[in-house]
């Protein structure tokens, strides 16, 4: 067991974990933050994307010990003061989800993708989301959602 201390959605947790514990299992099974989904176990699908010290990472391919001392944001921490994040709102407004399973990862990846890029193009969005698989939507409404949110965010986070 290794002791780690990690700040998740603004709250600091100090816990003993097996060194092999994946970050996504730590979030889901140890903290019951089940908003982060597992789609493939092998970092191919992006369903498990979270923010680790400001970067979008795939938490199924990250060890919890790698997050020691870091700040993690999950889908549960994206809305603030009861207000949906513009990316969440845009996915809702533009029918950017169907079954919803890839959605948390897609939203977490997209928020980082559009940072500082309020006028991001369709092609840039499509290329930037290549690491996230959606089996339902055909991506079109996801692209619409991300574009709308980027404009709304105006380059911010």
């Amino acid at each position: 067991m290794t002791q780690i201390s990690v700040t998740i959605n603004g709250k600091t947790y100090t816990k003993d974990v097996e060194p092999r514990t994946l970050l996504v299992h730590f979030l889901r099974d140890h903290l019951e933050l089940t908003g982060t989904n597992i789609g493939c176990d092998t970092s191919q699908c992006g369903a498990c994307t979270v923010h680790l010290d400001g970067l979008a990472v795939k938490s199924c391919a990250t060890l919890t010990v790698q997050a020691d001392g870091a700040a993690v944001t999950t889908i549960e921490g994206l809305a603030s003061n009861g207000q949906l994040h513009p990316m969440q709102q845009a996915f809702w407004d533009n029918h950017g989800l169907q079954c919803g399973y890839c959605t948390p990862g897609m939203i977490m990846a997209a928020t980082k993708l559009v940072e500082g890029r309020p006028e991001i193009s369709d092609d840039e969005i499509r290329h930037g989301l290549e690491g996230n698989i959606c089996r339902c939507t055909g991506y079109e409404n996801i692209v619409r959602s991300v574009k709308a949110a980027a404009a709304q965010m105006g380059g911010g986070v």
Binding site: D29, F91, C99, Y101, Y139
Partner: protein, 781 residues
């Protein structure tokens, strides 16, 4: 049109998903919960000689280890087939195999432990000694004399055969034809890959001897029935099955799977809640797969392009076992579609359902219908090429005329409605088809490899009616249940036997019921997926939810309105025929006197106080309907695509994609368009990239998302989507299925477009997927 039906409305279910609060099975955590993992076969075909579980049992944290024999000794029954065509031989299948492994991933031993990490550690400590056997993987070659047998009691690896159509007329048409197009084709194996891997949680309640099972199913009631009557043996009234939020299905979550038998069985055995969650690797080798046909087909034509006959022979790969509804797919959902959009005198199809050392095959988005449309539209394109006709003109020449509906095909189906010329007119105009052809000619003159594809596809959705399904081999009915409960305050809870796993029922059905009752949509909630609260229902597959499940809700709401009218008549002291149920305003008033009115909520309250009801009328306001449709609905589509192949790399670029679909009346255009677009992209996946590949020993070579190439966001243009509308005449909403049409048409149109591009290079047909490597080789000889 009502206040809500027909309008694009944002989905009411979305807030929980966008905030990470989806209630997926894998998110469930119960006090004292143990974790299950399955030891699976690494071989395609092998005899089990010996199993040693001692080391696994000795690992700290392991609670128990079970083999297939343990399950049978504990009362587990064989897994049944739900669609029994005449003379089918269904090989015996247990949740864990006991004698041989028949595909990679076949379950052998179950381990339950304190954590999932320990359970997986324990799997590595289990020793299974195998004697590898020669394998068969090909749908047709597995029937060769001397081929290894997957099941010793199934000679030639054939489980069943089926045929339909007017064979004599078809043979005569072929004999008398001016021209015959003949094609051998493969409709390749696909792996559905819903993004949520399957999962199951079970909780045994020892005190009351009752079981609750949470499972990722598209149809919890049939799963409860199968668990109760065949596999687990717990009485239906003591067994609750819940399918909460399910992360996509595409058919693969219809079926009864071993793990949803093993998990509750183990929960009862150890008297603790138990959870099993599939890894993606397990999903690739245990979720039912799709398609996998080897087909020989012939089309008879006159010189003017008139199609006079089509004869199809198909070997349909069933995999190592017969999955729950597998025999339905290549029979009554495939051969019945071989008339396409066309008026053809002779139509005949025959098929063999064969066993191989591959993962079992069952319904996958489209299920039989894409296979039918694909071969039909390939044949029509080749016929056009041979006869020097434009692919558009040959299709128009053969359409079933709009004034001949309902139209009886030679292969059982009675098409309900359609106007195929109108459908094509719209698509051709949106695409500027002639302009596309001119641009193609100009591009070719520059040495570019550009192709245009056009297809017209038919679908049969919402299988029905139950009696006919029964006569074709179905063990279940094809009706749907709907219950509308109006609460005393006029708020409404709706219980549907349909199940949503992405399709948006919580919005669409609320639109329907709100309009039917004349209440604000905010007052209507949709409840589904729990056998404890929902009346027995058949679930969601075959694009049936709106046409069958929605119609059941219309029927329930009609009963509510009828009762409300009786109460209103009594209280307003008027005859019912003098009253008007104003759905816009949500009240009942005397005709011509809008002031003499009772609001809906007040009448609901009156139904519950029962202080002043007409004599003999029961209190309460809750109605249930079981709707058994008279027929399938027959959505149809015209899709047009323009592609360019990079000569240097063989890579296909989709330059334009036009999809025009007739899915009848539309309840929520936003959702329907989402279904079409999502379906198209999935269908393009089959045409260009996706391929479930096994080697000769039955090893799955495409067992990860790196090897099995699904569509990603890159590489698609914005689709141009249009609609024409010929309402289905036989359901009260006038709707047809919308969930599968995109997938059906896209595979065919992209293939036709690529083959059109390769026409000048002398290429007649290539098998899917049309990978860059394959196309490069085709272009460079």
């Amino acid at each position: 049109m009502g206040k809500y039906v027909g309008k694009s409305m944002k989905r009411v279910e979305d807030p929980r998903f966008i905030q990470g609060k989806g209630k997926y099975v894998a998110n469930l955590s119960l006090p004292g919960m143990a974790h299950l993992a399955i030891k699976r076969s690494p071989h395609g075909h092998a005899k089990i000689l010996h199993i040693n579980t001692e080391a696994a049992k000795a690992l700290p944290g392991v609670i128990a280890v079970y083999t297939g024999q343990d399950l049978i000794a504990g009362g587990v029954g064989a897994m049944p087939c739900g669609w029994n065509v005449p003379d089918i031989k269904v090989p015996t299948r247990y949740p864990l195999t006991i004698d041989k492994v028949r595909h990679v991933g076949d379950g052998v031993v179950a381990v339950v432990a304190e954590t999932s990490y320990i359970a997986y550690d324990a799997l590595d400590l289990i020793e299974v000694e195998y004697e590898p056997l020669p394998a068969v993987i090909d749908a047709r070659k597995c029937t060769d004399a001397g081929a290894p047998l997957v099941h010793d009691d199934l000679p030639n690896n054939i489980s069943y055969t089926w045929s339909l159509g007017n064979k004599d007329e078809t043979l005569q048409a072929l004999a008398e034809a001016d021209h015959v197009v003949e094609l051998e084709l493969i409709n390749q194996r696909l792996i559905p890959n819903a993004m949520e891997p399957r999962a199951c949680v079970a909780q045994w309640g020892a005190a009351m001897e009752e079981m609750t099972v949470w499972t990722t199913s598209q149809n919890p009631h049939p799963i409860r029935l199968l668990l109760s009557a065949f596999t687990l043996g717990i009485p239906e009234n003591k067994l609750r099955v819940i399918s909460p939020d399910v992360g996509g299905g595409f058919g693969s979550k219809i079926f009864h799977y071993p793990e949803e038998i093993i998990t509750p069985w183990v929960s009862r055995a150890i008297n603790r809640p138990v959870k099993w969650v599939s890894t993606r690797s397990e999903a690739m080798m245990t979720d039912s797969q799709g398609r996998d046909h080897v087909t020989h087909c012939k089309m008879a034509l006159k010189n003017d392009g008139t199609i006079t006959g089509i004869y199809v022979s198909t070997w349909s790969n069933q995999g190592g076992y017969i999955s729950t509804f597998a025999p339905l797919i290549p029979t009554a959902l495939y051969i019945t579609l071989l008339s396409g959009l066309y008026k053809i005198k002779g139509v005949y199809g025959e098929m063999w359902g064969t066993m191989t050392n591959t993962v079992p095959v069952d319904a996958y988005r489209g299920a039989g219908r894409p296979e039918a449309s694909y071969l039909m539209e390939r044949l029509v394109d080749l016929a056009a090429r041979d006869l020097g006709m434009d692919p558009l003109d040959i299709r128009r020449k053969n359409f079933i005329p709009a004034d001949e509906f309902p139209y009886q095909t030679p292969v059982a189906f009675l098409y309900d409605s359609g106007d195929y010329h109108k459908l094509f007119d719209k698509a051709v105009a949106m695409a500027d088809y002639q302009g596309m052809r001119q641009a193609q000619a100009a591009a070719r003159a520059e040495g570019r490899v550009v192709g245009v594809g056009i297809v017209g596809c038919i679908e049969a959705s919402g299988p029905a009616p139950s009696a006919v399904a029964g006569s074709l081999g179905s063990a279940v009915g094809f009706w749907e249940s709907g219950k509308v409960r109006v609460h005393p305050t006029g708020k409404v809870s709706v219980f549907t036997g349909s199940h949503t796993h992405g399709q948006g029922h919580e919005t669409t059905f609320a639109q329907v019921v709100a309009d039917e009752l004349g209440v604000p949509i905010e007052d209507v909630e949709i409840i589904h997926g729990d056998t404890a609260s929902v009346p027995f229902g058949m679930g969601t597959y075959g694009s049936r939810s709106a046409s069958v499940g929605g119609s059941a809700l219309v029927r329930s709401a009609e009963k509510i309105r009828a009762k409300v009218m009786k109460i209103a008549a009594h209280q307003l002291e008027a005859a019912e025929e003098d009253l008007m149920y104003d759905r816009e305003a949500g009240k009942v008033h005397v005709k011509g006197s809008p002031d003499k009115a009772k609001p809906f909520a007040e009448l609901a309250f009156a139904a519950y106080t029962a202080h002043n009801l007409p004599e003999g009328l029961e209190p309460g306001l809750e109605e249930t309907a079981f709707y058994d449709p008279a027929n399938f609905t027959f959505p149809n589509s015209c899709h047009v695509a323009q592609v360019e192949i990079d000569k240097e790399t063989g890579e296909v670029t989709i330059q334009r994609y036009i999809a025009v679909d007739d899915v009848g009346k539309v309840i929520n255009p936003l959702i329907v368009e989402g279904q079409i677009v999502g379906g198209v992209v999935q269908g393009v996946g089959q045409a260009l990239w996706e391929n479930g590949v096994y080697d000769e020993s039955g090893q799955l070579l495409s067992g990860t998302f790196l090897d099995y190439t699904m569509p990603r966001a890159d590489g698609f243009p914005t689709l141009e989507v249009g609609r024409v509308e010929t309402p289905s005449p036989h359901n009260p909403l006038g709707v047809k299925g919308a969930g599968e049409m995109g997938t059906i048409a896209a595979t065919a149109v992209i293939t036709n477009a690529v083959m059109d591009a390769l026409g000048p290079y002398g290429v007649r047909h290539l098998e899917m997927p049309l990978t860059a490597e394959k196309l490069y080789n085709a272009l460079h000889g």
